[in-house]
Symmetry: C2
Subunit: 470 residues, 2 copies
């Protein structure tokens, strides 16, 4: 299930593409940068996600006859529509590795293609990468709080329509173990997990019978929801009864779930009662408006919770709910390009570029990524991108190039990656960053610099337009 | 394009359904309520949206062979899976009319179906109705600020993955005139609109040529983006040049778009310059992080802006990004059902119910909806749902029943509605509510009461479970 078509776009992309086509610009090569300006959640980093989804969409990018008929009715030019009939994306994608830790200002991905190709994929690219990066980053923060505890994505019902699908994918990359989302589990090979709802218990005349029926039907996977009527007075005793019955049959009650009330307090009461009943194996799961802060608090209180089910706040990327990623032209028809702004921080970086992660001679992070012209090497000095008074010199650095060709002429350079591998890579990359970058409150600022040559190119372009209006 | 399958659900629905099936509960009739507890955006009302999407999904609700194969691998029972093979939704939907103004606590929609049917559609129902109601409500607030000005949805690139699709639908219901979203325009017959991006201007060596090429390609629909280099010094003079050229050819420059800087100030400067150049017909469109508050401010400053393009804040329903709608069992196997909670406001309302909008003898709103048992009539007294000390008597009220059968035995009771008709209905319904309910700051509280009989039934059930644990 992926539901992106070539008409999954803003109309202006098609309107602009028509002009490019008519002006022969579909022969012009362009380079666009994908980057964002602000880290989500006031955090210290972001987890890049969505690349595989994007590549899959680009491989399959075409206009159906139905699409073209619709566009014709919208008054678009018939010669142009004829060109779109056979249109495929045949450009290059140079990208950070999915799952890598990324930062504002620096390109996360570049598109090299003709102007029409590059323009027509803008909306879909932004839509995919912005959202999955947002949710993977949120998931990573929740993982940070949860430590070794199990995390399950429960967010589908409050997700933004079919956004739930990619939310579950991104949550897994960011560090979740499982999802309640069946179709995401099926398509992405994410372990799926499910307990029971209050309605299940309510549909019976008494809770105990409800619990027994569930245990009989799912002996391998019984997690009882114990707060429908009263957690400690009704639910817990019933769960102990069923736990003992299962034990006597040689089965194991897997767990109980708490979905309301004081989760830490209730978990302690439950743990004690289960242990006293000889049911030490019963796990305690908790849900109800959890996020990285609530989970941190529950851990601080030493609530003996084994599994956290996180819903709304995860899948909508609360409280930001959107990453401000943009797609800006950096190079076209053999010339570097810039977008000016009264707001210096909205100035774009022209040219084909590369991004290096600077490491010391032992390979450890130095705390900075440098943005350079594509083919520059031996960077010894970098500049603050927006504050010319600030710069940084360094020596004996190992430069790790962060952007790689993942698609050439519309064809992937390597086979699709397994989601599990992306997740493992992401954890490994994040582990390189010290606690200071990962903390929630005023995290340490990871530096992004631009090389002397890139600065020079940018200033030359700025002056060009400044002089123009004089 | 709609991408909901029967596996677009939480696993626990399927797990519970298996138990119901094994216990013969697929023969039991159940009634579930869909309602929410908190109005979004600290506002005074919500706009109900998503019903047509839901009905379309329910008509087509089935498990594919592929789905069943996957569920088999997950360890589900083969007899149950065999039952799912031929599964269709054959229940009833009793709902508020799409576009109506709705409030917390009272049922917005009820599902009457067998336990398996009702449980299996829970996730998809919540997912659809929660999100579209959120965005339609947001759109309605933005419409309130914008007054007669045109509103266009520009949010696709920051939407939550394919959530953009239904966001555009809901935005139209809430009061937007058009969208940039091509596929939503195509599928929902929403007018689509598009201007140009900065990249278009950047791809040229000079802005004037870019503008001219666009005007030649789209003479009927040229809206020039004038802030790529410098709005007043470069963009505006170039737009005037092109506007005059078009005029001399007997064409009309449709408008310009401002996407950065002080929108009110720039709009005034542009308006004056266009008027002085004899280009009074050129409209001014503005975009850039707009929402109902920014638009209100722009209107207060009398910025002569004709069109507002609203993106991120609309399509993600910022700042809430989720409506807290829930789906609770009210009746099963011939008995009313309740979910208790330490938090009184989380107590559910048992039984098959109806909701009445109370009007005075002239048909005007009295400011209250009453929730009653399904077949009660002649309500003269209602009670606060959670505060027993509060009640309200009334007489000579006209009771407008708000919930109607829209699906019986899995078949719609009437043909699909046109989106335009839903929107017109919604505007008409909202217009009945006075300014006090529509204001953004501390809006007037619309009252929800429950009838004496419903209160009695609820209290009887509460006591039943209270006595149980004694």
């Amino acid at each position: 299930m992926h539901d992106f078509t070539a008409t999954y776009t803003d109309l202006y992309q098609i309107n602009m593409a028509q002009v490019y086509f008519q002006q022969g610009k579909h022969e012009h090569k362009a380079v666009f940068d994908y980057f964002f300006r602000k880290l989500p959640f006031e955090g210290g980093y972001a987890v890049f996600a969505g690349l595989e989804t994007l590549l899959e969409v680009l491989e399959d990018f075409k206009f159906s006859d139905d699409d073209l008929e619709f566009l014709k009715d919208q008054g678009l030019d018939s010669e142009f529509l004829n060109y779109l009939k056979g249109f495929r994306f045949e450009g290059n994608i140079i990208s950070a590795t999915e799952g890598d830790i990324v930062f504002p200002t620096r390109p996360v991905l570049q598109v090299e293609a003709n102007m029409v190709e590059a323009q027509l994929i803008e909306t879909i690219l932004l839509n995919i990468l912005n959202f999955q990066t947002l949710v993977a980053t949120k998931a990573s923060r929740i993982r940070k709080s949860a430590g070794e505890q199990m995390l399950i994505d429960f967010g589908m019902r409050r997700a933004q329509s079919t956004g739930a699908y990619h939310a579950s994918r991104a949550a897994f990359i960011g560090g979740f173990e499982a999802t309640s989302n069946v179709v995401a589990g099926k398509d992405f090979n994410i372990p799926i997990s499910g307990t029971m709802a209050h309605s299940f218990v309510q549909s019976y005349d008494d809770e105990l019978t409800a619990f027994r029926d569930f245990a009989n039907s799912h002996p391998e996977n019984t997690i009882l929801l114990i707060d429908t009527y009263d957690t400690l007075k009704i639910g817990l005793p019933n769960a102990i009864t069923v736990g003992k019955e299962m034990k006597s049959r040689g089965e194991e009650l897997k767990g109980v779930r708490l979905d309301s009330g004081d989760l830490s307090y209730l978990a302690k009461k439950c743990r004690k009662a289960f242990d006293e009943a000889g049911l030490e194996h019963v796990k305690i799961a908790a849900s109800n408006q959890l996020d990285e802060y609530v989970i941190r608090s529950l851990k601080e209180q030493k609530g003996p919770i084994d599994v956290f089910g996180v819903g709304t706040n995860l899948v909508i990327g609360d409280p930001d709910a959107a990453l401000d990623g943009v797609y800006k032209l950096a190079f076209a028809n053999d010339k570097p390009r810039i977008k000016l702004s009264e707001n210096l921080a909205k100035l774009t970086l022209p040219h084909k570029k590369q991004v290096y992660r600077l490491r010391n001679s032992e390979g450890k992070l130095t705390g900075a990524d440098a943005v350079t012209l594509r083919d520059e090497t031996d960077i010894k000095h970098m500049n603050h991108p927006f504050d010319v008074s600030k710069s940084l010199s360094f020596k004996n650095c190992n430069e790790e190039a962060l952007l790689h060709y993942v698609m050439k002429d519309g064809i992937r350079t390597e086979p699709p990656k397994r989601l599990e591998d992306i997740k493992v890579y992401s954890r490994k990359r994040l582990a390189e960053f010290s606690e200071e970058f990962q903390r929630f409150e005023n995290p340490h600022l990871y530096k992004i610099g631009i090389s002397d040559q890139l600065l020079k190119e940018r200033e030359a372009l700025r002056n060009h337009y400044k002089n123009k209006d004089a």
